[in-house]
Structures are given as structure tokens and as C-alpha cells.
Amino acid sequence: MDGTKIVREQIPDDEFEVLEEEQLSGVNELKRFVRAFFRRKIVVVGFILVVVVLLTAALADVIAPYDPYEQDLYQVLAAPGPSHPLGTDALGRDLLSRIIHGSRIALAVGVCTVLVSASIGTVIGLIAGFSDSRLNSLIMRITDILISVPSLVLQLLIASALNSGVTGVVIAIGLTLFPAYIRLINGQVLSVKQNDYISASRSMGAKKSRIIVRHVVRNVVSPLIVMMTIMMGMSIMAEAGLSFLGLGILPPAAAWGSMCRDGYQYLMTRPLLSIAPGLAIMILVFAFNMVGDGLRDALDPKLRGALK
């Protein structure tokens, strides 16, 4: 142990603290979000499809070759051809134009339903999360009951009670989907309330209610957005189901579900009449689900990095 040969030096603080810098600025945060969102190819496909459908709905009047409600009794059940790319239905209406205009109904129903169910569910979920444990468990028990009823039965009943039409369908579906939001929001609020950082910031002298509100907002927004996106797809599918059964949006409105119902009678001779609108439903639902998945990857910090 002779120290003469070996020179003591200052140890340089090298290479140990590079990790934290890149997460700070807002621009980088956005970049990271975009990169995480588009990491999977299938999400890119879904995103493009959503954009395409949105554009179609916005520009329906320009794109559609015909008026979707104009009957041409000389062209009844025409086969697909140059003048009618997908053929015509039993009343001589152009199928392609009806599908293009149908995107408006689908999106409108989707957006309205999600807004209705998300706002009801969020409000009740917040009430449940912030109330004492007895009221909380009462609300959650009722939610359990609502969730355990087959939703189609309720949707059918409510839709026909409110007379068919877009409003009726929106309320019917919205009223059956909101319990899922209650569970989500309640769970988030409870986990925020239990978390250590609440007591930590409290011990540092911050006001309890303010901290909780700030953390709840931060923890609720991301999963809420993800859930709303996926519920868009579910509501559109539910509307299509109701309309197909003749209890949702009724003809002559160009709703994809009721187009399938009308077209189904001619399945043998004109399969496109029922298959094409159904395909449109599937594509839109798929697109929203994929966008939801992408948002989850990008917004949920717990899954960040886990999905490579």
C-alpha cells in the first residue's frame, strides 16, 4: 500500500447525468408524443383512415356522384357499372353516394354519443371518487348493475321509447355506455387520492384540494381521451346494430346499418348492397380503435417504452 507511485486525482463527474434534459421542453414533448403515436404501422393506417372518413364526410356533397336520396325508378337494382360504381338500391338510389353521405350520420352519432356518455360518466365518476366511502360504494354498486345488463336490450328499449331517429339513438346508446366512464374516472380519482405524492406535497404545505384537483386532471385526461376514441368505434357499431334491426335510424336516412338491412333482401343478386355499407362500418370502427391504441401508447406513461 505505497501511495508514492499512484497519483491521487479529482474524480470527474462525467457521463452520468444526461438522461433528464431531453424531457423538459414542450417541443420535445410533442415530438415524443408524435413519435410514440406513430410507432406502429397499423396505427398510421388507422389514423389515415380516420382522416379519409372525416374528409369524406366534410366534402360529401362534392365527392358523391349523385344525390343520395334521389330515386331513379329506371335504374332500380342496377349492377355496378360506369355510371353507378357500386350499383343502385331497390329505389334506384346510387349506393356509393349513399355510403359517402352515411359517413356523416355515423360520425355524428359517434361524436354525440361519446359526448353524452363521457360527460354523464365523468361527472358521476368524479362525484363517486370524491365522496365518502359509503356513497362511493353505493354509486359503484349501481354502476355494476348497469354494466351487467345486456346493453343491446336497454338500447332497443330506449331507442324505441324515444321514437327512432338520430336523437333517440344517441340517447339510447349514450345511456348504456356511460357506466364504463364512471368506473374509469372513479378508479383514477381513488388512485390519485391514495398516492404518496399527495401526502408528500401536503407535507410541503400545499393546499389539499388544489393538489388533488391538479393531479386528478393530469391523471384523468389521458385515459379519458383514449376511452372516448375507442368508444367512438363502439357507438358507431351499436348504432349500426340498432339500425340493422330496424329500431335505430330508419330509412330513407342513409345510415349504414339500415342500408345493410334494406340491402340484405337482395343478397343473392346484389350482395354489394348489404356488404359494402357493412365494410364501411368495419373500416371506421377499426380506424378509431387503432387511433385509440396509438393514443394509449403515446399518452399512458406506464406503457411508455414497454411496447417496442
Binding site: I145, L157, M237, C260, I281, V285
Partner: protein, 320 residues
């Protein structure tokens, strides 16, 4: 354990009553006066104009009483097995439901069993062969199963196997113990359509939980013990990765019986779903009520069984 079951049964009865009340209330809100519908269908041309006869009928059916009392009266009869008469067809609802119930439950249970076998199997295969072709195929099928509307899948199948290939009958259903071969041929498409969604969701859940379980410490322990791949997966990973799948069962049951409305309509199957849709389209209230009640009971019982099953699979669950 016994306490738990008793509490759950009590809870189940509560759910059934709540749902019935909800439905009862909703039906009263439906448009159209049941008496008018009844009278207009019974071809009593003279009576139609007679308001006194209306009142008499109303009284006879108990429709002049307040709604809560109507509900109690109705429920009291239901408990004795009397669902009343259809106001459209006039026949006894309990009787007309008998065989339909058997058909719907047979199809639904078959779909349930099928999806619980195929779904996890696909999930396991795709987890073990992660990133390989078979994994991509399974993921693709699962995506279709989740995003394709039930009725659309049914239409495609009818077109393909019925009209184009002529392999399967287009519609109808026969119970298996009456003509097994025919029942099988008629049942394939409806069962597949009802099972597709549940297959997709269980396959996805099994895949992701299997992947998670395969990274657990006790799987490493199993390898360290010298077990081979088959033993590690089937003896150690499978049961644990199926636990989250069990929690999906309730949702699957609702999905399957919800799907029976559409499937029975498309394949013209004389079951509860078809009965319900017909009743709704013709505003046949007593029938709607009866069918809703029965379906709720079926779903609630199935949920209860699933919860008990869950405790059997996961020893950490305690019934307290």
C-alpha cells in the same frame, strides 16, 4: 363460501328486480296505447269506437292502476310462472317462450364454450410464436372479430357458404337432439357469428397476459427446475394467464346473448332474440318484459357461476 353464495344470490335477485323495474318503466314510456293496439288487432270493429269497452279492458288488464302497483302485480304473477298473454298474438307467453328459451340458451352456451376453447388457444399460440406469421394472422383475425359488426359477418357468411358455395343451409335451426346432423349444419354459422367477438377478445387477452406471465419470476423458476417448454407453458403459465380472461366472461356472456338478437333475426331462428325483436317491432309489451326478464336472469346466473369459477382458478381470491 356459503355466506358468499347467499349474498351473491341476494344481489342477483336485486339486479333482476332493478332491471325489471327499469324495463317496466321504459315500456310505459313507449309510444302507443297498448289497449288501442290490442283492439285494433282483434278485429272488433264495433267495439273499437266504444270508449266504455276501452275502459273495461283497461281495468281487466290492470292498466288503470298506478305504475308501481302494476309492477308489483306483474312481478307477483311472474314469480308464479305467469307472464300473461301476448297482446298481439293472444297466446300464453310462458308457453311460447318455452322452446325458444331452450333454442337460444343452447346456441348461446355452444357459442360460449366454443369461444372459451378457441379464443385462449389462439392467444396462446400467438404468444408463444410472437412476431411469427401465425401471430400476425391471429392478431388480424382478432382485430376483425372486434371491429366487424355482427350482422355484417353473418351476411358475409350467408352469402359465401349459402348462396355461392351452397354448403350450409341459409336459415332455420333444429335442436340437436331432434336431428343432430341438420342441427350441426344449421348451427355452425350462427354459433360462429355469436362467438367471433368473444373469440377475438379472449384471444387478445390471453395473448397479452400470456406474454406478461412468461416474463414472471416463477416461470424462470419453472425453467430452472428443468421443465420443458410444454410443461412450463401448460402447467405453469396457462392457468395464470387465464385469470384475466375469466374476468372477461361476464362481458362475453352479455355479448353473446346480445348477439342472439341479430343472429336469430338474420338466420330466422325461432329463439328469444327473434321473439324480442318481433315484439318490439309490434309493440307487444308483455312479451318484451318477459324476454328481458329471462335474459337478465340467464346473464346474472352465468355471471355468478363465472365468479365462483374465478375463485376456483385463483387460490388468492377469498370469499369474504
Amino acid at each position: 363460501m356459503v355466506n358468499y353464495i347467499i349474498r351473491r344470490l341476494f344481489y342477483a335477485v336485486l339486479i333482476v328486480i332493478c332491471v325489471s323495474m327499469l324495463v317496466f318503466g321504459l315500456i310505459r314510456a313507449l309510444p302507443g296505447d297498448p289497449i288501442e293496439i290490442l283492439v285494433s288487432r282483434t278485429e272488433l270493429a264495433d267495439a273499437q269506437a266504444d270508449p266504455e269497452y276501452f275502459e273495461e279492458l283497461r281495468h281487466e288488464l290492470g292498466l288503470d292502476k298506478p305504475i308501481p302497483i302494476q309492477f308489483v302485480n306483474w312481478f307477483a304473477k311472474v314469480v308464479q310462472g305467469d307472464f300473461g298473454k301476448s297482446i298481439i298474438k293472444g297466446d300464453d307467453i310462458m308457453q311460447s317462450m318455452g322452446e325458444r328459451m331452450v333454442i337460444t340458451i343452447t346456441l348461446g352456451l355452444t357459442a360460449f364454450v366454443v369461444s372459451n376453447i378457441i379464443g385462449p388457444l389462439l392467444g396462446i399460440i400467438s404468444a408463444i410464436r410472437r412476431g411469427k406469421l401465425i401471430d400476425n394472422i391471429v392478431t388480424f383475425i382478432a382485430n376483425i372479430g372486434i371491429t366487424a359488426p355482427t350482422f355484417w359477418v353473418a351476411i358475409l357468411l350467408v352469402y359465401l357458404f349459402g348462396y355461392v358455395l351452397h354448403w350450409l343451409p341459409l336459415y332455420g335451426y333444429t335442436l340437436p337432439w331432434k336431428d343432430f346432423g341438420l342441427s350441426l349444419r344449421q348451427g355452425i354459422m350462427p354459433v360462429f357469428v355469436m362467438a367471433l367477438g368473444p373469440i377475438a377478445s379472449t384471444a387478445r387477452q390471453t395473448r397479452s397476459s400470456m406474454l406478461e406471465v412468461l416474463g414472471e419470476d416463477y416461470i424462470r423458476t419453472a425453467w430452472a427446475k428443468g421443465l420443458n417448454e410444454r410443461q412450463v407453458i401448460f402447467r405453469h403459465a396457462l392457468k395464470n394467464s387465464l385469470m384475466p380472461v375469466v374476468t372477461l366472461q361476464g362481458q362475453m356472456i352479455r355479448q353473446i346473448f346480445g348477439g342472439s338478437f341479430i343472429v336469430e333475426t338474420i338466420f330466422v331462428i325461432p329463439g328469444m332474440g327473434k321473439l324480442m325483436i318481433d315484439a318490439m317491432l309490434s309493440h307487444d309489451y308483455p312479451t318484451i318484459q318477459a324476454v328481458t326478464l329471462i335474459l337478465t336472469v340467464v346473464v346474472v346466473i352465468a355471471n355468478l357461476i363465472v365468479d365462483l369459477l374465478y375463485g376456483w382458478i385463483d387460490p388468492r381470491i377469498q370469499y369474504e
